[in-house]
Amino acid sequence: MSLQPLGIVVGYLLLALGVGLLAYRVGGSDAEDFYLASRTLGTLVLLFTTFATLLSAFTFFGGPNLAYAAGPEWILVMGVMDGVLFAILWYVIGYRQWLIGRARNYVTLGEMLGDRFASPGLRGLVAGVSLLWLFPYVMLQQMGAGEALRGLTGGAVPYWGGAALITLFMIVYVMLAGLRGVAWTDTLQGLFMLSVLWVAVVWVVSAVGGVGAATEGMVAANPEFAALGGGLYTPQFIISSAVTIAFGVTMFPQINQRFFVAKSATVLKRSFALWPVLVLLLFVPAFMLGAWAAGLPIEVPEGANVLSVLLAEYTPTWFAAVVVAGAMAAMMSSSDSMLLSGSSYFTRDLYRPLVAPDASDRREAWIARIGVAAFATLAFLASLSRPGTLIEVGDTAFSGFALLAPPVMVALYWEATTRDGMIVGVGVPQVLYLLHVLVPATTVEVAGTTVDLLARSYGGWDVALAFMVLGALLTVGISAVSSQSVGEDATRFAVHGD
């Protein structure tokens, strides 16, 4: 093994950077263009920029790893959550936000809620919660990249080296390109990833003697892999994962901000209908490769990405490098989108309203850039400790975001929602969930039976599901008993036909 694949990866990342710079020169330089590309994205670009944002280390490396370890049912989890549930939320939350945002020029979720409820505090709370959960998700990309490069170069590039490389590219890229740049490279990368993934499937499958032989090998090694369910995959696990991830995704800053950027309703409609097909095209080959690998004579070291190992074994080195380069570039664009949206949350919803209301645009732009660099560097340092598998870290972040969705949905559709209802509905579930994440679970004796306290799941159900329900109940309940505060204006969320 040599450093030659590293050259391919770095070359590809530089190419993506070039496209971003080109887009930057095309676009304007004001905040609306930097963060929202002036609300002018067409179907293909919107579809792929949202898609590529999902195309992260979580789906690209975590998914195949899980399929390799536990069986290919993860395809179904991602199908119900991404293909169907997210598409429906795309309409229910996304279209509604687009209608409201278009009328009043909102750029962030916090800004929209803060304006409607006349509450800088709520605005800051939503932004703070979002940044909190964004942190582990950025870490996830760095962890994935670190492992990918190590696997590809046979250990010549250490884990921290790959993680550092992608961190550096992320920071430089976000500082220079803005959303137009991110959206352009996302489109390029989304199309590229889909193509190389299918080439990889054809290559590996023909090397092992066809789809039938690959599946037979998988079943011979793990008889329960072909059966639906079993092992890790209980109905509770499938439903919990699908629901928390689908709702969580809608509240991700980078996805939520995409709801404001479509050029027209037609763009949203087309993206909505194409979504399940795109999900199918991506996840089936990616996760089946992971599952088939279980039946192949390959050695996957502890903590390594099965996809890198598989490709290194069954395809030429240059091709494996191209796939990993594509995946890393996709992870970079995911991270760029996250950092870009995160920086707009930070400057617009926290820094300007709460710290320096009269900061100049120039100063705000600098604060945004410094914030991105600091955030990415801290996430990089945290990723060195490798606190869990890609799926575990990702799932925690998704669940944290998912808790935001119920109060936001109540606010979008129910005029009688009040500021107090929102603050309690957002705040209380977050505090409870954080306690469950940070404090180790304990068991106590109550009246002769043992009861788990602070566990992450009860009877197989993710505890976040209960907090989602609690969030909705609190928002509705507190709104019902409290009265509107001064300045609240429900008409700002009214939608009209055009």
Binding site: L76, V80, G83, L99, V211, L228, K269, P276, V279, L280
Partner: protein, 78 residues
Amino acid sequence: MTRSIRDWLWIVVFATLVTFSVPWFLWGSSTVVAGLPVWLWWHVGWMGVASVAFALFARTGWDRLMGVETAPARGGDP
């Protein structure tokens, strides 16, 4: 705002699409058809069905269900 039967029908369609994204009736089945588990074929077909249903909804029910329909719509594209 009153909901028409067509609105409710769409809500039922969405609920059905979500519920059977996982083929619960094939739970435990390990039948392999044409090289892939049979539940994977269901997934492939179901995503196709979902896409067609979403396309139909975008064409006919999109603005009505959101309550923003004003003039009688003439198809989807402007």
